[in-house]
Each structure stands twice: as structure tokens, then as C-alpha cells.
């Protein structure tokens, strides 16, 4: 997969995304929109596209960073409890501050997802059996435990309805004023690029890192903060998007290798293209209704995940 194909696909899909929807907006009308069209375009279509792109890019990069730091190809925000912890954090913020502002929610959810991810990394250190497939299973179990705690408290407090909004990723609710928080993740991508070499060296193991004079703990901490914060932002604005951070980095790794500095732009591009594709698919399959992105990515992503598991033996 050449990078320029990805760029072309990204542009085409982005363009398509702007003009798919219930309100008929055609690219030919671009310069003579009526009021309604203008409003839909700027209040809904553009924010939706931007949030899709940011979510796709940050989740994929987060996945890549996690796979390097945990030294396991199958660890990602979905399979390490990061997303579930973020959701637990949202619940806690809803319970503590009854009408939590977005910023409050973000901070509490971030703290929880960071703590959850750290906890998973600690569990990882303790596990003696470093079977590559065993570890994401532990992560999935860990995530499910946190998720069931969330459900328990949500049930007690009559918040199930509220929480389900964050259970399934859905871009159809994105309108101007509800997604801008995602912009916070753009500087995170820049930091990820600056730290790319450090993450890769950390991924070679603690001894390797020390030999090369790298501050291993610092690299791991920076990586986990990037992962936890960008995941939190996506969960808060869009909802859970499973498997993206798993499938995209693995595909890129196969054709481009694991030197993060080389792979970062491919990961970002492929992540954006993949999620855009899934979103457009979800929008046209049962037109004029929509299938939420969490579901389309979940189905296509888990299929690809199984495929990766099976071909794993060939190149591992």
C-alpha cells in the first residue's frame, strides 16, 4: 500500500463523507447552498468529518504506541481496558458532579483511563506466561470487569441510559459545539511523533533502552498519557470504537515495519481512511437510517482481528 494511494483515498472518502446524508447536499450546489443546506453543512457534516478524522488518527496511533510499549501486537486501547476505564471515569464524574461540565468529565475520565492502563501494564509485568495471545485476553477480561462495575453502578443510579451513549461509538450525534474537545488530541499526535524513536527503543525492552541511555520510565509514561488522553477524548465525544487501534497498526506493521517514526504517517492515514470507510458504509447500508460506527468498525475490525490472529504464525 503506497502512501499516495492512501492520500487519494482519504481525499475521496472525505469528500464523499461531506455529501452523504439525509439532507440532500450535492457537491454541485457547493456555491449556491440555501440556508438549510449551509447550516447542515457547517453544523453537522464538517464537524462530523473532522471528528472522524481525528478519532481515526489518534486511536490508531495510540494503538501503535501501546503495542510498542507492551511489546505485544495485540494490545490496544480496546484490549487493555483503557476504553472501559475511561467510561467508568465518565460514570464516576456523572455521579459525583451531577451536572458535570465537559471539562470535568474529561479530567475524571482521563484519570480513570490512565489509572486503568497503568494497572494493566502492572498486571502485564507480573504475568509470567508471555504468550502473545494470552495477554490481550487478560486485557479483555480486565476491561470487562471494569465495564461490569460501571454497569452495576450505572444501574443503581439509573444512569444506564446515559451510559449507553458512551457505549457505542456514534458520529451521528456530532454537531458543532459537541466535538471541539477532540482538537486537544492534535498536539498529542505531534508529541507522539517527537517521541516516536523513544517509544520504539522502549519497545525493544528495558535493558536495550538503558543501554542506549533512554529514560525508559519517562518514555513509557509519556506514551501511556498520550494513549489515555486521546482515548478518553474519543470516548467522550464519539463513544467506544473498538478494534481500530488494533487492526490498523498491525496492518501497517506488516508492510511498513515497526519503526514508529517511519510508520506513524501511514498509521494515521490508514486509520483515518479505515474509519471513514466504515462510517460511510454505516450511513448508506440502511439509508436513510444509520448504523453506529462502533458497530461497523466492531464487525469489520473483529473480522480482521481474527484474520490477523490466524496469520500471526506466518510472520511472528
Amino acid at each position: 500500500m503506497k502512501k499516495r494511494y492512501l492520500v487519494v483515498m482519504l481525499i475521496l472518502l472525505s469528500f464523499a463523507s461531506l455529501f452523504v446524508g439525509v439532507t440532500n447536499i450535492s457537491p454541485f450546489d457547493l456555491f449556491r447552498f440555501d440556508d438549510h443546506q449551509t447550516q447542515i453543512f457547517w453544523q453537522s457534516r464538517v464537524p462530523r468529518l473532522i471528528s472522524i478524522l481525528i478519532a481515526g488518527v489518534t486511536l490508531s496511533i495510540s494503538g501503535f504506541i501501546m503495542q510498542q510499549l507492551s511489546r505485544n501486537k495485540f494490545v490496544s486501547p480496546t484490549t487493555a481496558g483503557t476504553m472501559d476505564s475511561a467510561r467508568f471515569g465518565i460514570l464516576v464524574s456523572l455521579v459525583i458532579f451531577t451536572s458535570a461540565s465537559p471539562i470535568e468529565k474529561m479530567i475524571v475520565a482521563f484519570v480513570f483511563s490512565l489509572a486503568g492502563t497503568f494497572l494493566f501494564m502492572k498486571i502485564l509485568d507480573r504475568i509470567k506466561m508471555k504468550d502473545p495471545i494470552f495477554i490481550p485476553l487478560v486485557g479483555l477480561m480486565f476491561g470487562n470487569i471494569i465495564s461490569s462495575i460501571t454497569t452495576f453502578f450505572a444501574y443503581q443510579r439509573d444512569l444506564i441510559q446515559n451510559m449507553s451513549a458512551w457505549l457505542q461509538g456514534d458520529f451521528s450525534m456530532i454537531t458543532a459545539g459537541r466535538y471541539e474537545m477532540l482538537y486537544i488530541s492534535i498536539p498529542l499526535v505531534v508529541i507522539a511523533y517527537i517521541f516516536a524513536d523513544r517509544f520504539t527503543i522502549a519497545g525493544m525492552g528495558e535493558d536495550f533502552a538503558r543501554n542506549l541511555g533512554l529514560n525508559y520510565k519517562q518514555a513509557v509514561n509519556v506514551g501511556l498519557v498520550i494513549v489515555a488522553l486521546s482515548t478518553t477524548l474519543v470516548v467522550l465525544t464519539v463513544g467506544l470504537i473498538p478494534f481500530l487501534g488494533l487492526v490498523v497498526p498491525n496492518i501497517v506493521s506488516i508492510y511498513r515495519g515497526d519503526n514508529l517514526k517511519n510508520s506513524l504517517s501511514d498509521t494515521a492515514l490508514l486509520g483515518a481512511v479505515f474509519i471513514l470507510f466504515c462510517d460511510i458504509l454505516g450511513r448508506i447500508l440502511i439509508y436513510p437510517y444509520e448504523i453506529p460506527i462502533g458497530l461497523t468498525v466492531g464487525v469489520i475490525g473483529s473480522g480482521l482481528f481474527i484474520y490477523l490472529l490466524m496469520r500471526r504464525r506466518d510472520y511472528a
Binding site: T200, N211, L212, G213
Partner: protein, 252 residues
């Protein structure tokens, strides 16, 4: 000079390295030999600060290792451990490039590229520099790791069983490269090595460990004698001189 002063390290009740003191001269190849479990690798890890000693000190050029900044040490001393299991798919060249990290912190300069090219040439990896590590054989991988260590361009190079997985041709190639690094560039090389004939032919100084203690140390002529080797390994081996080199015949 590396000064190891009364270093001890235990795991549980077992003392793996037991009150070891040794001085290692600059610009020489020093081999650490001894039976399995003698504490050679542990000692090397302590010298290279990957492990910390329970008691005792390691000084490199008069500076205490555990009080020197990690980043500065990375320009002075490089270590390659025994098993290098990478789960990352890196190309040979990328791996060797990471050897420049202590200097470049990620931004490779032209000078860095020169070192990288040179290290790749030293290890004869030119043809496969763009291949991924997981496409290489065990020996090729090992050479790539050693190339990375060479690119790190440190005064001290510590290699834990560098000849693992290598056939004779490549074992000889690596020992010759190490010899050149010591003779031409004045590097100080410390290796843990199992094949005592390689130790005999290529090293300047030999340190023999047994049960965590130094059993013997000295020049090749002092250590490679039937008597000393019997003390170390507990087996009789005749020593033949071939082309002025002492070869141990330990096959029977």
C-alpha cells in the same frame, strides 16, 4: 579502566556474584570464561549498570557507574545481552541506527549515517540492511545486533556470548572485528565466551569465574594451562600448541 571493587549480588540466598574484584585494562580484549552459572553474565550486567550490585562498586575511568547519568554512560559503554528477543519488526539499518540514539536523540546527522554505514560494513550486512530482522537467520540477527553496538561507538563494548547462534565463519569474523576494534581503534572489549579456544586465540586477558568467585585471572599463557582449566571446569584437557596458539582439546 574498569575497576570492579568487591561486588556481590545474590538472588535469594544464592550469591551469584560473590565479592568479586577485578581491574580491566583499556584497549584490550578481556574474556570472561567459566562453567554455566558461574555468574559471568551477571557480572557483565553489573558492570554495564543494567543490574545494580548488592554491595561493592564499579568504576569506569574513575567514575562510579551508579552515580553517572544514564545518558552519558550510553556514550561510554555499550552492552549486548545474550538473548535479544525483539517483538518489533525493524529493518537491519533501523536497528543499527538506534545505536546512534545516545548522540542523536532521534535526529540522525550525516555523521551518524557515516557511523551506521561503517558498522554495517564491519559486520558485512550491506546486502541485507533493508531486510526486516524477522526475515534473517539467527546468526544474521546476531550480527545486526553487534553492528548496532558498534554504531554506538563507545570506548567500552560488553558482549554477552556474542558467538551464540553463529557458525565458525561468522564466529571468526566477529572475533576478528573485535580484535580490529581493540587494536586499531583502542576500544576496550569485555566478552563472555564459552568456547575457550576462541578465548585463547583472540583475547589479551582472561578472567575465569566459578561459583560467583574469581577462580583465576591472567594472560592467555597463564590461564590456558591444563592445571588451571581443570580447576575451573573440573575436567582434564590436553593443550596443544598449533601455530603458536594454545588450543584446548576438550572433546574426550
Amino acid at each position: 579502566m574498569v575497576e570492579v571493587q568487591a561486588v556481590s549480588k545474590s538472588y535469594g540466598l544464592k550469591a551469584v556474584v560473590d565479592n568479586v574484584s577485578v581491574n580491566i585494562e583499556k584497549g584490550k580484549i578481556t574474556s570472561f570464561i567459566g562453567p554455566n552459572g558461574a555468574g559471568k553474565s551477571t557480572l557483565l550486567s553489573i558492570i554495564s549498570r543494567l543490574l545494580s550490585a548488592d554491595t561493592g562498586e564499579v568504576l569506569i575511568d574513575g567514575q562510579k557507574v551508579n552515580e553517572t547519568k544514564n545518558r552519558d554512560l550510553a556514550k561510554k559503554i555499550a552492552i549486548l545481552k545474550q538473548s535479544n528477543h525483539l517483538s518489533l519488526r525493524l529493518s537491519v539499518r533501523d536497528l543499527v541506527s538506534f545505536g546512534r540514539f545516545p548522540y542523536s536523540q532521534g535526529k540522525l546527522t550525516k555523521e551518524d549515517q557515516v557511523y551506521i554505514d561503517e558498522a554495517i560494513r564491519y559486520m558485512e550486512l550491506e546486502d541485507m540492511q533493508d531486510k526486516y530482522l524477522d526475515q534473517l537467520s539467527g546468526g544474521q540477527k546476531q550480527r545486526a545486533f553487534i553492528a548496532m553496538t558498534i554504531a554506538q561507538d563507545t570506548e567500552y563494548i560488553l558482549l554477552d556470548e556474542p558467538l551464540n547462534n553463529l557458525d565458525m565463519k561468522h564466529s571468526v569474523q566477529i572475533m576478528k572485528v573485535l580484535r580490529r576494534l581493540a587494536d586499531e581503534l583502542g576500544k576496550t572489549i569485555l566478552i563472555v565466551i564459552h568456547d575457550i579456544n576462541f578465548a585463547s586465540v583472540y583475547s589479551d586477558y582472561i578472567v575465569a569465574l566459578k561459583d560467583g568467585k574469581i577462580e583465576a585471572q591472567g594472560t592467555v599463557n597463564e590461564i590456558i594451562t591444563s592445571l588451571t582449566l581443570k580447576q575451573i571446569y573440573g575436567m582434564d584437557m590436553p593443550i596443544k600448541e598449533i601455530n603458536n596458539q594454545k588450543i584446548c582439546v576438550y572433546f574426550s
